[in-house]
Symmetry: none
Subunit: 220 residues, 4 copies
Amino acid sequence: MSTPAETSARRRRKEARPQELLDAALALFVEKGFAATRAEEVAAHAGVSKGTLYLYFPSKEDLLKAVIAHCLSSRIADGAARAAGFSGSTTDLMRDILAQWWVAIYDSQASAVFKLVMTEVRNFPDIADYYMREVVQPATELLGSIVKRGIDNGEFRHVDIDSAVHSLVLPLIMICIHKHSLGACPPACLGGTLPVDGHAFIRNHLDLLLDGLRASPAAR
Amino acid sequence: MSTPAETSARRRRKEARPQELLDAALALFVEKGFAATRAEEVAAHAGVSKGTLYLYFPSKEDLLKAVIAHCLSSRIADGAARAAGFSGSTTDLMRDILAQWWVAIYDSQASAVFKLVMTEVRNFPDIADYYMREVVQPATELLGSIVKRGIDNGEFRHVDIDSAVHSLVLPLIMICIHKHSLGACPPACLGGTLPVDGHAFIRNHLDLLLDGLRASPAAR
Amino acid sequence: MSTPAETSARRRRKEARPQELLDAALALFVEKGFAATRAEEVAAHAGVSKGTLYLYFPSKEDLLKAVIAHCLSSRIADGAARAAGFSGSTTDLMRDILAQWWVAIYDSQASAVFKLVMTEVRNFPDIADYYMREVVQPATELLGSIVKRGIDNGEFRHVDIDSAVHSLVLPLIMICIHKHSLGACPPACLGGTLPVDGHAFIRNHLDLLLDGLRASPAAR
Amino acid sequence: MSTPAETSARRRRKEARPQELLDAALALFVEKGFAATRAEEVAAHAGVSKGTLYLYFPSKEDLLKAVIAHCLSSRIADGAARAAGFSGSTTDLMRDILAQWWVAIYDSQASAVFKLVMTEVRNFPDIADYYMREVVQPATELLGSIVKRGIDNGEFRHVDIDSAVHSLVLPLIMICIHKHSLGACPPACLGGTLPVDGHAFIRNHLDLLLDGLRASPAAR
DNA sequence: AATGAATGAGTCTTCATTCAT
DNA sequence: GATGAATGAAGACTCATTCAT
């Protein structure tokens, strides 16, 4: 009963739509905030009309949740897999995992979700649950286990594991958030200050932190 | 209609109003976001009527700017003064300055402004300018100068100054933001995860970082 | 693309379409009201797609008019014919005509049109014209002429003809309307009240009314 | 804290508003149907702006329910009271009760509710419950008890009580509904037909029906 | 012929802001 | 000064209708 000729451009359009809308929504929600973004703007950004948006997402709020869920389909499992099969020093492992994560995140749209989550969790509590389960917990466990490996095999000092994980990770998250808030303001507003180069920073940051973690004062 | 006796309590009330409104506004803007907060809610939170809010602030947007400006009346000058007269080791100075800053910020409402600024800068660019000038630049300069002092006097390694400052400060800012986003969600949403104790963290964080900065491999 | 064999089933399908759509439309318009019924619902109810509906009816409003026109293709002519050739008592004639009319209407979909007309005339005045011409006038004339015959031949008292017709007919119409409003609500809503049995009622009603009309107090 | 001077015109306005809005809503809902009436029209009809309507009723649906509830604050108790203290013949009692009810209803706005209820019950089932409890049941009981009194004291024949009540009442309800549907169409649409005079009708109707009920074939 | 994706005019509803009291 | 009733612009969402396939 369904025309087989419908296979062409029309269908391809239809299948691409949700993604195009999610992309537009992410960009705008991160730029202006969820409440301050008009549904019609999202639609226009994706090149469709208001009505079409509602063909794919039942409400603006559902669109928000879809945006977040879509971006968070965990990249962390990859890291865990890498870690499991890693045979070098723990310092190298940590550097590898974080650098890897960074290149996957920082330059992509994914860096935006952190701001979005920070901004909107309190209005939409199911986001909190989802984010904790899909991101915070796996990430904390993965990095914590690496720190622990370092301590156990004598590479790292006996530091508090959770604090060390935070010292390692929070600046990276913060830089992602920054990129989409102050960092995205027109330079004119910023009084000609440092644009914060994420790639340069992460190298220095890891050097500093892994040095702080190192156990033996000898080899330097 | 105006009593001459309106001197005491009533006047005190009147003079306290702007502050009460600012407090209410900060709390609500941080909780729900600027766009999602109704002017009437702010008024109700401060115990006055909608109309009264507009007696003190010409518009909701002006209220936002006043909230931010008020919270940012720089505490950083204090730090600079302390630093200028400090005679101990640079490690101690850094620890002193950051710990001091932390106690002034973390437990107070001031911790909320960071989230508010992150969230709203892109909609209100004059906030960016103000924040850069009043907060980012002075803080960066102060901390940068301390790191430089450490490098110059041989206490610290030859690290990149800006990166070191970021590694030191960004986790602290991030924890402030977290406190008002995920950290403020009802525990039920969080799946029983770590509530992040800011005071414990800062100690561990400074230990780790200052250790990473230390120049001589000897004394430990 | 068109098979020569599309003769039988498919064609029958195609020819039945308008009727299926009219049936679906009647049911839904009566249930929810014209304005509150979505064109797509009507189509779905008839087992076709939105677009197909518009192949047969140029607009939702035209569909409404078609529904009403279709249901009103006067059954009253039948009654007039019966009446013309009737040779028994006027009481029996009246009972015959109304009972006949009742069995044709009450259990069929036709009972629904009355509600539909009542509900929508004021929004679509051409319906009024049509309904008056096709239903009200013929029916009034037919029944009025029967009452007159009864009066003229001494069977009935000298009552006001129009009033008598109304006393006879309005309860029947009202019961049809009721069947599609309160009478169609889930029993839970109705607090366990009488479901109003139309067939029992019409018998009692005619007994009562024809008794009231009867002229001679004698024969009972 | 509330200005006592607010007692004047302003307050009187505020207290009258709900009633003005209910009146406007009744008129429009009955004329065009609930779904086809725009909230703004109701407001305009009551001489206020869209926003003001929502100051008094939380939604259009609540407005509908308020309209119906307000019109149905039962006038039937009055009838029951009259009936209780009545000492004349049952025929006179019935005539008295129905005529009384008729003058209270037919010329007033109250006649409109019947159409509104008929039209909207199926979309808003709580209306059904309310209407059955507040109107149908009390009225049926009152009139049923009068018919029973007539049968018991030998004035009326042994008719089916419920059917008799329906024969008596349904034409009256139907005329109310008619008044607000076909009866309200511009005469041009009606092809110059009888405008149905309610007051003339009820007299004839009661004569006819009470005659049909009368027991003794003697006195006439 | 039939479909259903796309459109955008039209509605309900909210909320910043004003102003008479 | 303080209030809160009133406003109306703005935004979420629906649905009749069109048209490419």
